[in-house]
Symmetry: C2
Subunit: 342 residues, 2 copies
């Protein structure tokens, strides 16, 4: 455990002032390039490493971005995080990641920790049942940029990064209708969340536009777990008037639903067509493979991180950008192709 080298040590060794050393190490313009070379070389030689805390303390900045997500361990979220990490890393920002485990209470605690950690900015996808955002007010008040992604909450001071969930829902359901479905079930999540509310709106819009009635009893609000998929299939079996198509807003849930339907003797897609959401790898593995909405997770992570970093570097004012919408699209596979030769 050797002693830590500081800019004072380097300064003394080179008979320069600590200030000069600091400037050289930070690429300050007003410094002689020979001096700079000299200092850099000596720093390396002495095994100097910058003390981020001293620097942060002095500059009142942390080069750290906080991320709060419902869960780390879903394919979608880990893809988003991978995208964020990539961008942040390249811009030499650190990522502090925490999960709310879908609980507002834990989300509040996480927000507090992030606040105390003095993150330069915060990227959030809210928990299942968050409805107030008082716990983020502290950030807003202090001018710490706050950016929501995927599961967003509209706020005039915050930017949201989303896909067009209404359109995605519309596309999915329109596709089912075009395949001949006339009675389409919709399995979704908590309608408090923009993502689910919007997809439902898209579902309704597609029905309306094609002259089909909206039947509330066909909308099933669940936690979108695997069990929910199984449960949905069972419920379908017990319905007096069975649907001929189902749009599930999560691939894993959809896949479980599909499998259970098959076990119960349904033929997919002929008896009932299934469409999922996210384009999780699992959708390509099930038989028949699952039609779904491709969700650009990595891209969303990259855009979120980049926007925040640009804002922090003064390259873009995020307060003026209210919403960024990414492109998503329907991926047609065999679970919905009624006249398929699969």
């Amino acid at each position: 455990m050797e002693k830590e080298i500081t800019i004072y040590d380097i300064a003394k060794r080179l008979k320069l002032s600590p200030a000069t050393v600091s400037r050289a190490l930070n690429d300050h313009p007003a410094i002689n390039s020979d001096t700079k070379t000299l200092i850099t070389a000596m720093a390396r030689q002495m095994g100097y490493r910058t003390n981020t805390f001293a620097s942060n303390l002095r500059r009142q900045r942390t080069n750290t971005i906080g991320v709060i997500v419902p869960r780390l361990n879903s394919n979608f979220m880990s893809t988003v995080l991978a995208g964020m990490e990539k961008v942040a890393n390249e811009a030499s920002y650190n990522l502090i990641i925490s999960q709310s485990l879908e609980s507002v209470k834990k989300e509040i605690a996480n927000a507090k920790t992030m606040f105390n950690s003095r993150v330069d900015g915060l990227l959030v996808s809210v928990a299942y049942d968050t409805d107030k955002i008082d716990h983020f007010e502290a950030f807003i008040k202090k001018g710490i940029p706050l950016l929501f992604f995927d599961r967003v909450i509209e706020h005039k001071q915050c930017t949201s990064i989303v896909i067009d969930n209404v359109k995605a829902g519309y596309d999915a359901v329109t596709h089912l209708i075009e395949q001949g479905c006339r009675r389409i079930m919709h399995v979704t999540g908590n309608l408090k969340r923009n993502v689910y509310a919007d997809r439902l709106a898209g579902y309704q819009q597609a029905l309306r536009q094609h002259g089909l009635p909206y039947d509330e009893s066909l909308v099933m609000v669940t936690d979108l777990s695997q069990e929910a998929g199984t449960e949905a299939a069972r419920r379908i079996q017990n319905m007096p008037e069975r649907p001929d198509g189902v749009f599930v807003t999560n691939d894993f849930c959809a896949v479980c639903c599909l499998i259970t339907l098959k076990k119960l003797g349904f033929s997919v897609p002929d008896d009932i067509a299934v469409v999922g959401f996210n384009d999780d790898p699992v959708s390509q593995v099930v038989e028949p493979d699952l039609t779904t909405i491709h969700y650009p997770g990595a891209k969303m992570g990259e855009v979120a991180a980049q926007s925040l970093i640009n804002h922090l570097n003064g390259l873009l004012d995020i307060q003026t950008t209210n919403k960024i919408i990414l492109h998503s699209e329907l991926v047609v596979r065999h679970s919905s192709l009624k006249s398929s030769s699969y």
Copy 2:
């Protein structure tokens, strides 16, 4: 953007010294409990938040744990990370996560960043082709605890957290043999990595013990991607003497192999039995569902984080613990049950 409250502000307001305030806020034993109550209340009232940087600078400690993983976006890894985050959060440690994207070069860069961020400890699962660990020497020299998990590198100063991969491989292959397989193929990853080398050893051990020959041409080293699974299936089809069982050390790769085999006209498990590794949710979705080794990912994350934190808190000396082995077990499903009525 109001002014940040410091312990000086609180001290002034209560006509106490900053030292007393600091002590009260940190639950120092030698402080009057009335004073403590008073200070705590005032801190809350004034909206005080501790300045971690000043504290870190002074205490030479960061309460931050660094994590370097090959990829964030695999089911296995995100489960591990979720476990780590849970434990770290409860112990009020922050997690800085970065991914090497399977490249040694990036891993080296990540290590450097972590070093400069002065993490209190480091949790690492190495990249595909890392063979030296010079880039971690700096940590070891400085006495910063370094803990490897899953893909580990043996080092006398570092603890490893693993499952018994030899046994897992042995169990998988023994199961195949017991199901009547006599010619078993093995699809695995870079044998530099303990996980794959050990599983191969287990494979060989099982063969030997059951009097079956070891045929090197049946071992296929791949990157365990989905494409590798497909490729393996094709290769099987083209073999003059086809295997009747295959053990793939990754579920997603196994699933792709299985699906392709079916497409090529093989019956699974009757023509060829398939066993995977990890117990990824996808293994329950494929038909027939996949026999696999259950890997305790969340547990591994928790144990890794907890061990490190205990060490940091002086509750346990990690240097003396060389290896922690977690329990894993075979999960038999239908992809390997030759006489199944599935």
